[in-house]
């Protein structure tokens, strides 16, 4: 292989991009498997990744200021460190969780912030550092080496890394195997990097290989321990699945949460008999997820067919294999997103039982909205029943619970004539167009169905007084939980803070102060890049959210969407780099275009919704990222394209993206909804357009 004219720098940057995106996704999966998997945590991970990257980028500028000479040897050394740090940090994330926090506890916002920030820092910092440092090394050889080439090489690597991980590695490899595979191209590129060989780097290379191989060899031993014996461990494309056997009792953990137990008869009885007792003869049933022991209870009704929808085929397989769900002849397992399934099928059911836990993420919240209830009703026979649940109330209905149950009840009442809440282990919502009876034991007796728990405990636990209390708690003035305006999720986020006695105010104020200080440091062109990073990331989150809401979570298509948001940057940067016109006008036109695209997307969501073709989402992703990519070289040239300006520009883009993640995920979508979030992004780009109009080029 011949070394390229730049001494192989671009290979290194591309390979770093491949490795860093894959490592980022491995980190995300690790955090989700160990912490609460809500959007706040995901946003925090991206935020700290991008902020650390931004700091690393700035560090490169200071580094240059100190020594003046950039060396390929140092670049190679830091790049080898990436491989070592990737393994060490994943191991640290796994091992330190139970060292720092009490085993089995959920962790509050600030502790999560601290843990994520600490454990993500080294890798992200170095990734951020090597990008501008690569440019410095390249400019040692060629004084006028364009900064845009590094930006494009990095984007190409990011796209390749994202595609490789999402469509190949996640299906076949474990986290440590992934780390090994994605760092091999980087090590190969470093091998070919001109003037990079030294004894020090040879040692670093060997150490990196040893670290990567050690991770692979001790993969399972590095997992956190739990009571009982781990009898199965797998990584599906949706997350981590662990099966534990504790004194003969099977528990299936998905992403660290106990999801299915072999022995939970009280819950199984409530989930099944509260709704099915209402229906004369339930023949066709649809289960959206399950709880342990559910099939034994369902079998008492002798249904003709039971369709069981579980998005992750591996979870369904584990349930059947380890007996948390009994197999029966009438059972049909369908591995598909339930909304996507219901949108396609023409089958109608006597009962649809949503057995999911209370929504903690937007993903799950999609099954608790007016849109889903409409979809479900369209697939119920006359007299059919839909049931779903949220976390139960022990002896008191808090204001937060009242808001939550009201938003669900109001959404359901919008679709069904009768909605009744029965308090049990969860709060069960029974929805149908015919009256609902609460004397469940009597209904079961009429049907000749035997139960252990309901027969014995219902009369003491579900007293008329408690049923009345919970149904009277519904406040008709609370906004219903809607697809585009997820009222329930607002409360879920508020609850997370109150569960740990915390408030996000401190974090928001600190962040706002830091952002303001940061923005004052930026030149106008960097301000444009800041907003570009912000809206590109924000648009990606808005699009994914809207897509899932309309079409369901379809792994491949969501993966394509994420890839398109990265892919558009590359041709955009390439064409932007060759743009010979007025750069100020170019920036303004792109800002206006972005603004118009957001307005168009807003109108499409507002007016057409369900009939939006998938290709519109793809086109939107590609177009937004193209415009963002186009702006980068223009803004860079406007600010002088010096190494210092490049470092500042890379940094502004990263910090903007970090800010975009938090703004959209934590504030705009939960508290204002998707439509307002889209409008807000349009507004951000409008301000950027005005600022672009005031630019006076320095070159």
């Amino acid at each position: 292989m011949k070394r390229r004219g730049d001494g192989g720098i671009r290979f290194v940057v591309v390979a770093t991009g491949i490795a860093s995106v894959a490592v980022q996704l491995v980190f995300v999966r690790e955090y989700l498997a160990l912490f609460k998997g809500n959007e706040i945590v995901i946003a925090l991970i991206f935020f700290f990744w991008l902020v650390s990257g931004g700091l690393g980028t700035l560090a490169a500028k200071w580094f240059q200021g100190g020594t003046a000479t950039a060396s390929p040897k140092i670049l190679a050394f830091f790049s080898y460190l990436l491989a070592i740090f990737a393994v060490c940090q994943v191991s640290a994330i796994r091992q330190l969780r139970d060292v720092i926090f009490s085993h089995g506890t959920s962790v509050g916002f600030y502790a999560t912030v601290g843990f994520v920030a600490s454990t993500i820092l080294p890798y992200a910092l170095i990734v951020g550092f090597v990008l501008p440092y690569s440019l410095m090394v390249a400019r040692q050889r060629f004084k006028d080496y364009p900064g845009n080439w590094i930006y494009m090489a990095d984007n190409a690597g990011d796209v390749a890394g994202g595609v490789l991980f999402s469509f190949v590695l996640v299906h076949w490899l474990s986290p440590y195997q992934t780390l090994l595979i994605v760092h091999l191209p980087l090590m190969l590129a470093l091998w070919w990097l001109a003037s990079a060989s030294s004894i020090q780097n040879a040692v670093a290379c060997v150490l990196a290989l040893v670290a990567l191989l050690t991770g692979v060899l001790f993969e399972e031993r590095l997992l956190p321990t739990r009571p009982g014996q781990r009898v199965h461990y797998a990584e599906s494309r949706y997350g981590r699945i662990e099966v534990f056997d504790d004194e003969g009792e099977i528990s299936i953990f998905t992403d660290g949460s106990p999801s299915f137990f072999s022995n939970n008869p009280a819950l199984a009885e409530e989930v099944v008999h509260f709704p099915l007792s209402q229906v004369d003869q339930p023949r066709r049933l649809l289960l959206i997820s399950t709880v342990g022991g559910i099939m034994e209870e369902i079998a008492k009704y002798h249904p003709e067919r039971v369709d069981y929808l579980e998005i992750d085929p591996m979870v369904a397989r584990m349930q059947l294999l380890f007996g948390t769900m009994a197999s029966m002849e009438e059972l049909v397992v369908i591995s598909q997103d339930a909304r996507a399934y219901l949108a396609d099928t023409s089958v109608c059911y006597d009962a649809i039982l949503v057995c999911l836990p209370e929504p903690e993420t937007f993903q799950v919240n999609r099954f608790y909205t007016d849109g889903f209830f409409e979809l479900a009703k369209a697939h119920l026979v006359p007299g059919g029943v839909l049931s779903f649940g949220m976390a139960g109330v022990a002896n008191y209905i808090s204001e937060s619970k009242r808001e939550k149950l009201s938003s669900l009840a109001n959404a359901a009442k919008y679709v069904f004539k009768h909605v009744m809440i029965i308090p049990g282990r969860r709060l069960f919502f029974m929805c149908r167009d015919m009256p609902i009876r609460t004397d469940v034991p009597a209904l079961l007796e009429e049907k000749g169905i035997e139960t252990h728990y309901i027969r014995s405990y219902y009369i003491g636990d579900q007293t008329d007084q408690r049923i009345r209390q919970v149904n009277n708690a519904v406040d008709a003035n609370v906004d219903p939980n809607r697809d585009l305006s997820p009222k329930f999720m607002q409360q879920v986020f508020v609850d997370w803070f109150s569960l740990h006695g915390e408030s996000p105010k401190g974090f928001i104020l600190t962040l706002t102060a830091m952002i303001i200080v940061y923005l004052f440091q930026l030149s106008r062109s960097q301000w444009i890049l800041f907003t570009t990073g912000c809206v590109n990331m924000g648009a990606e989150m808005v699009t994914i959210f809207a897509f899932q809401m309309l079409y369901g979570y379809i792994y491949l298509q969501v993966g394509v969407l994420v890839t398109l948001f990265l892919t558009g940057l590359l041709p955009g940067a390439y064409i932007g780099g060759r743009f010979g016109g007025d750069r100020r006008k170019g920036l303004m036109v792109m800002d206006l275009l972005l603004c118009l695209m957001f307005l168009g997307f807003f109108l499409i969501l507002l007016c057409i919704r369900q009939s939006v073709p998938v290709v519109v989402f793809y086109g939107f992703g590609l177009a937004v990222s193209f415009c963002c990519g186009f702006q980068f070289p223009l803004a860079l040239r406007v600010s002088g394209d010096s190494t210092t300006a490049a470092a500042h520009s890379f940094s502004a883009d990263l910090v903007g993206a970090a800010f975009g993640v938090l703004l959209v995920s934590l504030v705009l979508i939960p508290f204002a909804g998707v439509l307002w979030a889209t409008l807000c992004l349009a507004f951000i780009k409008l301000t950027s357009c005005f600022i672009a109009g005031t630019i006076h080029e320095t070159t």
Binding site: I100, S102, F115, A394, Y396, S456, I459, E502
Partner: protein
């Protein structure tokens, strides 16, 4: 000094970095979280008291005046020292101008009619109902609290009823409840409300039961014992370390409560929630039973409850039922005469067997009594006295 291995050093350094940033080291960059401390005991709330007492306030029955207007609450072992304007660990007591006030008097945030078996009390007036009340507050910080929405908040922050002691008793009588239960949150924190209600209840022929974590000082407990007919007190564990990590309390005061109740002749049962990974070993159960037998004797019923994920402890699987079966057998073998299993419907661990002749005396189907073979407090078969407060007439099935 023992040399540190490289592995230990790296782990310690990484832990140190994370500890500092997550608050473990107590001088956090990012804040504090109860789930990450080795001792989660609550702290007082400085300057959190309201400006003046409200309708549901009363001067506390147990406190000491200190210098500079400060007071020390002597109700529970937390012994909160409060300067004027401060609020106690339990959130329901405040120092207003040098006097300690309770803010939880007559403001029940929860009032339900429950089967007495739900408390759980299996040897106390079976098949009757208890008018159950709670006010906000708790002197513990249990990570698995089921009632955290009322126990970990201030009385001012919850919706509440206007239910002063006389009205509580009236409601109980109106709803044909034979007992008033002080329960759900931690009744010790609404002590004045509880004891005043209990006195009126006694005067009206009603019984009183205290469902508690047992974290109370001896003097107020002795006063309470005079109006108590029964109690169910939690023995969370026999390990002081786990009390500190899981509950934010200490073991010894709880054990002292059991001894006091026993000596005062108050009928009580004990509840032990088996949390996986937190002292759920045979050795711990044997140690716990050993202490019970030595200090309380074999007659106080012991309930093993199954844990389900709740509040902050929501990333653990439920207790395996086989563990509970084994612990029940172990406790019986050790010598405890009445050992029950909670949250496991249909198991024989819900029933009462005579400890002498081993015959089935009470068969419970949930809250329903299917079989009752205790006559005048004695086994119908062998006439052995069965400890408890039994009805004079056969309970309804």
């Amino acid at each position: 000094m023992k040399p540190l291995s490289r592995r230990q050093f790296i782990l310690a350094a990484a832990t140190g970095l994370c500890s500092v940033s997550t608050g473990h080291a107590r001088w956090s960059i990012f804040g504090e979280d109860a789930s990450l401390k080795s001792d989660i005991q609550g702290t007082i709330f400085k300057n959190d008291a309201p400006a003046s007492p409200w309708k549901w306030s009363k001067i506390a029955y147990y406190y000491k005046r200190m210098e500079n207007g400060a007071v020390m609450c002597t109700l529970c072992p937390n012994r909160c020292r409060l300067s004027p304007g401060d609020r106690s660990v339990c959130r329901s007591r405040v120092n207003l101008k040098g006097k300690l006030f309770t803010l939880a008097y007559g403001n029940a945030c929860s009032a339900n009619i429950d089967p007495i078996e739900k408390k759980p009390l299996y040897h106390f007036m079976p098949s009757t109902t208890a008018f159950s009340i709670a006010a906000a507050g708790c002197n513990f910080r249990c990570l698995n609290c089921q009632n955290w929405e009322i126990s970990q908040v201030r009385p001012e922050d919850v919706h509440h009823l206007d239910l002063f002691p006389e009205q509580v008793v009236q409601e109980a009588v109106k709803n044909e409840c034979s007992t008033i239960a002080y329960t759900y949150s931690e009744p010790t924190t609404f002590y004045e409300y509880m004891i005043d209600t209990a006195r009126i209840a006694h005067a009206n022929g009603l019984k009183n039961v205290w469902i508690s974590n047992g974290y109370i000082n001896t003097e107020p407990l002795l006063a309470l014992c005079r109006v108590l007919d029964g109690a169910n007190v939690n023995i969370k564990t026999i390990s002081d370390d786990i009390y500190r990590r899981l509950n934010g309390g200490r073991l010894k005061p709880v054990l002292d409560t059991f001894v006091t109740l026993h000596r005062q002749g108050v009928y009580f049962e004990m509840t032990h929630l088996v949390v996986p990974g937190y002292g759920d070993s045979d050795e711990t159960v044997q140690r716990m039973c050993g202490w019970i037998l030595e200090h309380l004797g074999p007659d106080h019923p012991l309930h093993f409850l199954r844990f389900f994920p709740s509040y902050r402890l929501n990333r653990l699987a439920p207790t395996p039922v086989n563990t509970l079966f084994r612990f029940r057998e172990l406790a019986i073998t050790e010598g405890i005469r009445y050992v029950y299993l909670g949250n496991i419907p249909g198991h024989e661990g819900n029933h009462t067997f005579c400890h002498e002749c081993k015959k089935l005396l009470v068969e419970r189907q949930g809250y329903r009594i299917a079989v009752f073979r205790i006559v005048d407090g004695r086994c119908r078969y062998c006439q052995t006295p069965i400890p408890g407060i039994w009805p004079l007439v056969q309970p309804d099935g």
